[in-house]
């Protein structure tokens, strides 16, 4: 087996050194009737070539985003990632290192985490950010728990514009922790009255911006109303590129900001791995979940970085920890940091403008198709269209025409009965030809 350096002669000599004759002597604590006598019923070993063939066959059954006009978003976005990013994250010293428990030989990881935390804090307009969460949805669940710790209340209000999967993650966690959740009804036009739901028991209000329907929201009135009642505003985003163009959640008064960072540096990967961004006001830092990297000095006074404030964490506090989280999303947050470094402020803002421009062009083109209406007044790179008939069928027929034309909202939230809505995203990867193909295909299938 190519990954195993020991030869049979090595094994025999090593067993002799240990003082046993048979390997199973080392497995003596396994009850004899539970020790497997033969290999389990799975295929035997394969060379590289054969593994490549078999997995290649499975990969070939899927339709990659780059191969078709592609407009699918709803929480994960197709962006172009510079070649430099994927090269750098495959450097052995990044790829095959561990959580930086020994900081003297992990300064590479620690310094980029410090840079990542700074980038995220700036982008969200917040004072501090952590070293990342698993993804945006689990980060949202953790943000709600954090708000409960801060406010010492246990009721969350979820906007009807929150991604239904995110809402479901929060509801699952809250149900299990016996906390209460009030979910506002789905709100395709962003006309919900969240402020009216806030009461003296409310711990936090969770609002996504742009929301799942693509609407851009003014968070300021909600922040003010929540804070006046002693509650926190948790601002969520699923498209990090939007922060290059629209007002930051921090500037609009958010107490905690959490979002999905996949758009910067990371591939679609069929849903994971992604990278959750998590930022907050400085005064709440000791209630934050997840790893934090901090600056310090070494024994010779040189600047260096370490994981810090670990007394919040499970390996120290055990059942009193702020979270059970043990890892961050290291390599994905490295990809984010590198891509953001390449973009810089100028590049990010331009990328955001291109996304918005492409979405505006697409919205106008689709609005011209008979029977189709665009619901949004304000949006970034994603909007909602209403189609005659069932959105699920329309999207499936579009796929049959070789166009991946968005996400039927009902796939995410069938219980809402909003069967005629499609969430449509357009990024820098879409060309005029892609848009023309989408319009032509839509006309054919309607």
């Amino acid at each position: 087996m190519r990954y195993l350096p020991l030869s049979d002669a090595d094994r025999t000599a090593m067993l002799a050194r240990i003082g046993v004759t048979d390997i199973d002597a080392l497995f003596a604590d396994i009850p004899a009737d539970k020790l497997l006598k033969a290999p389990v019923d799975l295929p035997r070993r394969k060379g590289e070539l054969e593994v490549e063939r078999q997995l290649g066959r499975l990969a070939a059954k899927n339709v990659p985003a780059s191969s078709v006009p592609f407009f699918v978003g709803a929480g994960a976005y197709k962006h172009h990632v510079p070649a430099t990013v994927d090269h750098l994250i495959q450097r052995s010293e990044f790829l095959t290192s561990y959580t930086p428990y020994q900081p003297e030989i992990a300064q590479g990881t620690l310094q980029y985490l410090f840079e990542f935390q700074t980038q995220v804090a700036l982008l969200t307009g917040m004072e501090v950010a952590n070293a990342s969460m698993y993804d945006g949805s689990t980060g949202t669940g953790e943000a709600v728990l954090m708000a409960h710790r801060v406010s010492k209340r246990r009721k969350a209000i979820l906007s009807g514009g929150l991604h239904p999967h995110y809402a479901e993650v929060v509801r699952t966690l809250s149900h299990m922790a016996s906390d209460s959740v009030v979910s506002a009804p789905a709100s395709p036009l962003a006309d919900e009255d969240l402020i009216g739901l806030i009461d003296g028991e409310t711990s936090c209000v969770v609002v996504q911006n742009p929301d799942v329907f693509g609407n851009i929201r003014d968070l300021r009135p909600i922040a003010a109303a929540a804070q006046a009642r002693g509650a926190l505003l948790i601002a969520v985003f699923t498209e990090a590129v939007s922060l290059g163009l629209i007002e930051s959640p921090g500037a609009m008064g958010a107490d905690i900001v959490v979002g999905e960072g996949q758009s910067i540096g990371n591939a679609l990967n069929f849903g994971g791995p992604y990278v959750g961004l998590f930022a907050a006001k400085q005064k709440y830092v000791r209630q934050m979940p997840g790893r934090l990297c901090g600056e310090t000095v070494d024994a010779e006074g040189q600047r260096g970085f370490v994981l810090t404030l670990s007394t919040r964490e499970q390996h120290i506090r055990r059942d009193k920890a702020t979270s059970n989280i043990c890892t961050n999303s290291g390599l994905c947050c490295l990809a984010f940091t590198i891509h953001m470094t390449l973009l810089g402020e100028a590049g990010l803002k331009r990328l955001a403008r291109i996304n918005h421009a492409n979405a505006v062009k697409l919205a106008d083109a689709l609005a011209g198709v008979k029977g189709v209406s665009v619901l949004n007044k304000a949006f970034f790179n994603e909007f909602t269209i209403r189609v005659p008939g069932k959105a699920v069928d329309v999207v499936e027929k579009l796929a049959g025409k070789g166009v991946l034309g968005g996400v039927p909202y009902a796939r995410l939230a069938p219980e809402t009965g909003l069967d005629d809505l499609i969430l449509v995203a357009s990024t820098e990867v879409n060309s005029d030809d892609d848009r023309a193909a989408f319009v032509a295909a839509l006309k054919e299938v309607l």
Binding site: M1, E48, G108, P273, F380
Partner: protein, 523 residues
């Protein structure tokens, strides 16, 4: 001795310390400033064309003013991150004996497979008819995991080990609620030797954690579990092989006792690498166990993630598995995403958006297919053999807290042997850094004093193990001879000397901020 330019090659009396460099660099070890100290607001390493003029539709919520980000050109970006990488130790650098973390070789075939556009460039919400191969891959991986563990269901979506624990404990809670015992069964038993994630997970969803004492031989005895059992107990969370590196000999009896008391058995699968192909947790009576794909099945640790933590479930828990899951119908694969599609499965909810860590699934399946059933069994045997070989090579110099059981894939030492030397486990670990090794896990498990948990994995050759043993023997003898400074001031040769963690925690600096203008700083 002369080289061909006629200059002497001997260093003579000169030492490196007497000749500090202007830059602070030491040849290949180059100091690197922070991104924010070298980047520029107007610099970008990505060529993008400004879009043609258009009327924005942002509802008047445009960002005003600068963000504060900086950029670098592509060559500068490359150099910045390459230099940072050179300050890191990875498995590819050398032996990485971090106990409980299973730092094994990461085959690059797996990276190549995960980057096939058919896996990496597909969206989680594109029509299912366009991702049948992806669903088939997840289904295949699920099959391998169920066969290897002897279980009948697996929830694939958890994003990491601790997240798998959470999903497994949620399934247990859902099962208890379904029996109407939610209000009474609130206690989860957790041995003192457990990973910190276990009690943290149980507490996160409202359970009360009760510790189970370990016996003097490092194992949990069924009588100690039975003494704590009652109608208030929901589950036990037990790691097996345990964190002392020992296979729990009474695990079958413990499982039976839990079930007889109407409670469940959660197994922490962090140490599954020791027994893959040797024993199946399902045969031992477990009800749920997460599998760290980044440990046992070699997906890269990546400096702390991303991981993946599918959790296998027994028949007793299978119908409470979270959404989503895959249902196979002949050659068609359907993704069950919502409660109304779930049929008789009483899914307890959803633990993450989308369907989990696809990129890690591809890597793990590539690893499994490469090894096959025979190779995985051999890998486990080699992992256990290597750990016991290290133990045999060191046990006369370093103290074993639990000599009565063979080690599984990791050998646990304590610091009794360092008594009266003035040298701590931490000091010893830092001296290992100077010798070119990543230290072992220190001070964990908590049940032994000054723990040193060494897990070499199956990836090490005999020559590599021999050199490691000789190195640790040399250090151990130096420690016993009283060469204190070599340890207390170590490391000497790493990119940084020992870092002040107290200072970092007392006055947290968690991000870069622009330097204050000089006048202000002087005030």
């Amino acid at each position: 001795m002369l080289n061909n330019q006629g200059r002497p090659t001997a260093a003579g009396a000169a030492t490196a310390a007497a000749h500090p460099t202007f830059t602070g660099n030491q040849a290949l070890q180059i100091e690197e400033a922070l991104l924010f100290e070298i980047g520029r607001a107007d610099c970008t390493g990505v060529d993008l064309d400004e879009p043609a003029a258009f009327t924005p539709r942002l509802g008047g919520l445009e960002r005003k003013g600068p963000i504060g980000l900086v950029g670098l050109s592509e060559p500068e970006t490359m150099r910045h991150f390459v230099r940072l990488s050179q300050k890191n130790y990875g498995i590819d650098t050398g032996l990485f004996p971090l106990g409980s973390c299973t730092m094994k070789h990461n085959p690059r075939l797996n990276e190549k497979m995960a980057r096939l556009p058919g896996f990496s460039d597909i969206h989680p919400l594109q029509p299912q008819s366009t991702v049948q191969g992806a669903l088939e891959l997840i289904d295949q991986l699920a099959h391998w995991l169920m066969v290897l563990t002897g279980t009948s269901a697996v929830a694939m979506s958890p994003k990491a080990g601790a997240h798998g624990e959470l999903a497994g404990m949620m399934a247990i809670k859902a099962a208890i609620d379904a029996k109407g015992e939610g209000a009474s069964r609130k206690v989860v038993l957790v041995p003192e030797s457990a990973h910190g994630t276990n009690p943290a997970t149980a507490a996160l969803i409202g359970f009360i954690v009760k510790p189970v004492p370990a016996r003097a031989d490092g194992t949990v005895h069924v009588d100690d579990v039975k003494a704590l059992l009652g109608p208030d107990v929901a589950a036990i969370m037990l790691t097996n092989p345990n964190t002392c590196g020992i296979f729990e000999p009474q695990i079958v009896e413990i499982a039976r006792a839990m079930h007889e008391a109407g409670a469940y058995f959660y197994c922490d699968g962090a140490n599954f690498n020791a027994i893959v192909g040797k024993a199946r947790p399902g045969d031992l009576g477990i009800d749920a166990m997460h599998i760290n794909l980044h440990k046992t099945f070699s997906t890269p640790h990546g400096g702390g993630g991303p991981g993946a933590g599918p959790v296998v479930l027994s028949d007793r828990l299978a119908r409470f598995a979270p959404l989503p899951f895959i249902r196979r119908d002949g050659s068609h694969f359907a993704l069950v995403e919502t409660a109304d599609q779930a049929g008789n499965v009483q899914a307890f909810g959803r633990v993450t958006a989308f369907h989990g860590q696809m990129g890690m699934y591809v890597r793990a399946l590539s690893y499994m297919m490469s090894h096959g059933s025979d190779g995985m069994k051999q890998a486990s045997e080699d992992a256990v053999l290597n750990a016991n070989y290290i133990r045999a090579g060191l046990e006369d110099l370093m103290s074993l807290p639990f000599p009565d059981h063979p080690s599984m894939h990791e050998a646990l030492f304590d610091d009794t042997w360092l008594k009266d030397t003035g040298i701590s486990t931490l000091d010893f670990a830092k001296a290992m850094i100077d010798e070119g090794y990543h230290p072992m896990t220190m001070y964990f498990p908590l049940v032994v004093h000054g723990a040193m948990l060494i897990e070499p994995t199956e990836s090490e050759s005999r020559a590599s193990l021999d050199l490691f043993i000789m190195t640790l023997r040399d250090l151990a003898m130096r420690a016993k001879r009283g060469e204190t400074e070599r340890f207390s001031a170590a490391p000497f040769h790493a990119p940084r000397r020992r870092l002040d963690e107290t200072r970092a925690a007392r006055n947290p600096i968690l991000r870069w901020t622009p330097p204050q203008p000089i006048q202000q700083a002087a005030e």
